[in-house]
């Protein structure tokens, strides 16, 4: 009943922090890593797949979710919280199509998700959502976008970003290796995402789940063989680079 939940949980501390939100961000840092890269003609999301127990059915653990034909997202943090947010976002995508007769723009749905998250930092009896999300997709006019949201309800656009465990390491790797020219090629964009994930993932391609979306196409989740192909190519390139270094 509403009466007993009339006390806010997220209140300001004396020095201006919202501790609940910051604790939520700590929860996010414990989640498995997710990486997003925005290319010119393709957008890529990669997540670290946690090793599943022997008896567990692999296909039910999906961390990359399609929100509509032109938008999909990955998250880091509490899976149960993410499920709620994803459900609301999916409904909103369809509502938007109904009232405006146009698919959502990536910015709109990001704003929507952020508004929900912010509302939960200012409501009675509710705690903030413990997830950060990476939302990617193409707008109606073909521009690709990558946005990141966090438990406080803020969102920013990125060219490439990472969330979850070791996000800082991955982001530094991306900053060092992101090259504007490479984004023209789909393969290079995908390779960058995989290389970034390989930095922190334990045993190579087996623990990576990757989804891509090319303009005017729907989201495609790469099968294990395709990922292995990219990984082998990357390993080869690395070896070539090492050899060159040794020569010089």
């Amino acid at each position: 009943m509403a009466m007993s939940y009339d006390r806010a949980i997220t209140v300001f501390s004396p020095d201006g922090h919202l501790f609940q939100v910051e604790y939520a961000q700590e929860a996010v840092k414990k989640g498995s890593t997710a990486v997003g890269v925005r290319g010119k003609n393709v957008v890529v999301l990669g997540v670290e797949k946690k090793t599943v127990a022997k008896l567990q059915d692999d296909r039910t653990v999906r961390k990359i979710c399609a929100l509509d034909d032109n938008v999909f997202m990955a998250f880091a943090g509490l899976t149960a919280d993410a499920r709620i947010v994803v459900n609301r976002a999916r409904v909103e995508c369809q509502s938007h199509r109904l009232t405006v007769e146009d698919p959502v723009t990536v910015e709109y749905i990001t704003r929507f998700i952020s508004s929900i998250k912010q509302r939960y930092t200012q409501s009675n009896g509710r705690r903030p959502f413990g997830i950060s999300s990476l939302i990617v997709g193409f707008d109606f006019d073909g521009t690709p976008h990558l946005y990141q949201t966090d438990p406080s309800g803020t969102y920013h656009a990125w060219k490439a970003n990472a969330i979850g465990r070791s996000a800082k390491t991955v982001r530094e790797f991306l900053e060092k290796n992101y090259k504007e020219e490479h984004m023209e090629s789909d393969t290079d964009t995908i390779k960058l995402a995989i290389r970034a994930l390989l930095e922190v993932v334990q045993s190579g391609g087996k623990n990576i789940e990757l989804a891509i979306m090319k303009r005017d196409e729907s989201m495609k989740i790469l099968v294990q063989e395709e990922i292995e192909e990219y990984v082998t190519a990357i390993v080869k390139e690395k070896e070539e680079a090492e050899k060159q270094k040794k020569k010089t």
């Binding site: 405006v100 007769e101 508004s115």
Partner: protein, 272 residues
């Protein structure tokens, strides 16, 4: 036109029963594209109770909505032409010859007026507010489809409560020229040509015979003007002036306002 009803003492009876309460119940939650709207965001204008318990005929008896008008709009390659007359009648009495039946929602959207003048102008001004909020929130202009959808959803909540509004929402958006007919029954249809009102049949005749997609702007304006003129010639409830607007990619332009009598001389002279 409903304006005329004010002059008729019978239908100007807006004295409702004292114990009828003004219950404010309209929420914009359903049609609002702004998520998490604060309570202050809501505009409550619903007058829910009927016009009195002893009023068996319903709204029609007290407020006469006269559909004596001719409004038309059609799409062509250079946009949309909107042409309307300007007469308001109360029975056989011509109440006004200078009514503005085109409502300028914003610099690139127009709405026409047929049915209740108050209903049309009120809801279209409300639509203007929603369109502006959409523009600010989404940093781009609202599409004609979305604007007409907002209007249709707004009035649908009052279906059966006596609203009378038959309007055409015309504009130009990223999909090109847009033309939608929206009415208080809940209809919302997209089309290339609409004529609404008592003189609509005469207007249809003229436009149907002259409409081609490759008309120039002047030819299309002349077609619209001629259609309204012919409607005013035969329909007693249409007349006054022909107000002509052209909606193009930069917005709308008021093309002309010409008195029907002047047009009559212009068209009939050459025949003599």
């Amino acid at each position: 036109m409903a304006l005329s009803s004010v002059l008729q003492s019978e239908s100007a009876d807006f004295s409702f029963n004292i114990d009828r309460s003004f219950s404010f119940g309209c929420g914009f939650g359903q049609t609002d594209l702004g998520f998490g709207a604060a309570p202050g965001d809501r505009l409550n204008f619903a007058i829910k109770a009927s016009l009195g318990p002893d009023d068996k005929d319903g709204p029609e008896r007290k407020i006469e909505f006269l559909h004596g008008t001719t409004t038309l709009a059609f799409k062509f390659q250079h946009g949309v032409i909107v042409a309307v007359d300007s007469r308001a009648t109360a029975g056989a009495y011509i109440a006004s010859q200078t009514v503005k039946k085109v409502i300028e929602i914003n610099p690139y959207l127009l709405g026409t007026m047929a049915g209740g003048a108050a209903d049309c102008s009120f809801w279209e001004r409300l639509l203007a507010r929603q369109c502006r909020v959409y523009e600010l929130r989404n940093k781009e202009r609202i599409s004609v489809a979305a604007a007409s959808k907002l209007l249709a959803n707004m009035v649908y909540q009052y279906k059966g409560m006596g609203l009378s509004m038959g309007t055409m929402v015309c504009g130009w958006d990223k999909r090109g020229p847009g033309l939608y007919y929206v009415d208080s029954e809940g209809n919302r249809v997209c089309g290339d040509l609409f004529a609404v009102g008592s003189g609509s049949m005469y207007a249809y005749g003229v436009v149907d015979s002259g409409l081609r997609q490759d008309l120039s702007v002047e030819e299309a304006c002349e077609l619209g003007r001629r259609a309204i003129y012919q409607a005013t010639y035969r329909d007693a409830y249409s007349g006054g002036q022909v107000n002509l607007y052209h909606v193009h990619s930069e917005g709308w332009t008021r093309v002309s306002q010409e008195d029907v009598l002047k047009l009559h001389h212009q068209y009939q002279e050459p025949k003599k």
